[in-house]
Amino acid sequence: MAAPVIETHALGKTFGLTPVLRETDFRLAPGHAAVIIGGNGSGKSTLLSILCGLVSPSEGSALVFGEDTRRFSPRYRRRIGMLSHQSFLYPNLTARENLEFYARLYGVSEPRKAADAWLERIGLGESADDRVRTFSRGMEQRLTAARAMIHNPALLLLDEPFAALDSDGIARVKAMIREAADEGCTLVATAHAQLEIEGISFELYEIVRGQVVEYQEKDEARRGGRLRSLLSPRS
């Protein structure tokens, strides 16, 4: 079996005197997808911030691609795409300029072309030359998704990817995520409830008092769905 993309050992994080995560052992194999369910302030975002190397753990360790996230070298950062609740977009640059800038940061070849292609995919081709400041929350979220995926990452961390999106936006972003998954990208998403993306079987986790554990079904009807996802073939 291939080495896991994500492997945490007794991971814990405390901000000041406030514990957020504790004793978390979470593993995810390459090409697999996981959804982490939890309410507001349950530590979902903190987990993703640790996995991408922005926040360092208080206890235990997190290995991503086998590398400790505390000493994350540029080589590994290039392989991660992060869709955070912050958009990471410059309000005074246009949509195209934003994407082009990030394409350049990640050394994408032909950044201009890549930016245009992604703008079409998220349905913002006509607003390409408008400043992000003028965008609605939903348009911004579409652009944020494109920004996170523009360098074709091998691991996608998605913090509530469908927040503020309309149905067209959700469909487009889902299509982008599915395509990434088809190419073998490993996915970790957070959500308030189970995500449904056709063709992707998500392993379900929830955060219980700061600990990431396998989701416990409370509903008989949904258990069948979970069983199917467990039985579905994996790469």
Binding site: C52, F88, L93
Partner: protein, 223 residues
């Protein structure tokens, strides 16, 4: 290197788009000079010593504001985090932000020099080239420190007042050297006569550009 160029180009683009940092810094330099002209007696406010002092006061204030703006432009929407997540080295991010701060400060220095020439009745001569060199050396050292410390000030609580409190004492040696060299140049002496002062400025620049380059990763990292 491509990443460095991308950030610098982006900052330039933001400024052209109405970032207004240049406008703010030039107006600030103008105001400082005007205040000094009125604060001093007319007779005093003519000589090269006063002009040199006024220029450096303008430079220090413009530099603090400029560095703060350049750092804050990355704070909106968490863009600084995106830079940290990208494959760029922290040191490269520092170099790019330093370049932007330095660029704005040099712009302010040029404007302040032109204004000071008018206000303090300075001769327009070759000595202005030497003066610009001295000011540029000062601006480099200042922005090297300011880029590092502005991140601290932006992220620590009780921040904004912290930057001047931290940076002014640290900048004292370069300030002394810069004012002395500027006054000498303005009173018609060749730059070679201020060799020691220019030496201190260069040493200061080398020291703090290196220190900022090496230490920046420790001020941008999250807990």
């Amino acid at each position: 290197m491509a990443g460095y160029a991308a950030i610098v180009k982006k900052d330039l683009m933001l400024e052209v788009r109405g970032g207004r940092i240049t406008t703010v810094l030039v107006s600030l330099a103008l105001l400082v000079l005007v205040v000094l002209v009125f604060a001093f007696d007319r007779a005093v406010a003519q000589g090269p010593d006063t002009a040199a002092g006024a220029l450096w006061i303008a430079l220090v204030f413009a530099g603090m504001l400029g560095a703060t703006r350049v750092v804050l432009s990355e704070q909106e929407n968490g863009c600084l985090r995106a830079l940290l997540l990208s494959p760029l080295d922290r040191a490269t991010i520092y170099a790019a932000k330093l370049t932007a701060s330095f660029g704005f400060m040099v712009g302010a220095a040029i404007a302040a020099t032109i204004l000071a020439m008018l206000f303090f009745n300075l001769e327009f001569s070759m000595s202005l080239a030497a003066l610009m060199l001295v000011l540029i050396l000062g601006a480099l050292g200042f922005s090297a420190l300011a880029t590092l410390l502005a991140v601290i000030a932006a992220r620590a609580r009780g921040g904004e007042l912290l930057l001047p409190l931290l940076i002014v004492p640290l900048f004292v040696p370069a300030l002394i050297a810069g004012v002395k060299a500027s006054a000498a140049v303005l009173s018609g002496a060749a730059l070679a006569t201020s060799r020691d002062w220019v030496g201190i400025l260069i040493a200061f620049d080398v020291l703090f550009v290196t220190a900022g380059y090496l230490l920046f990763e420790h001020v941008v990292g999250e807990e």
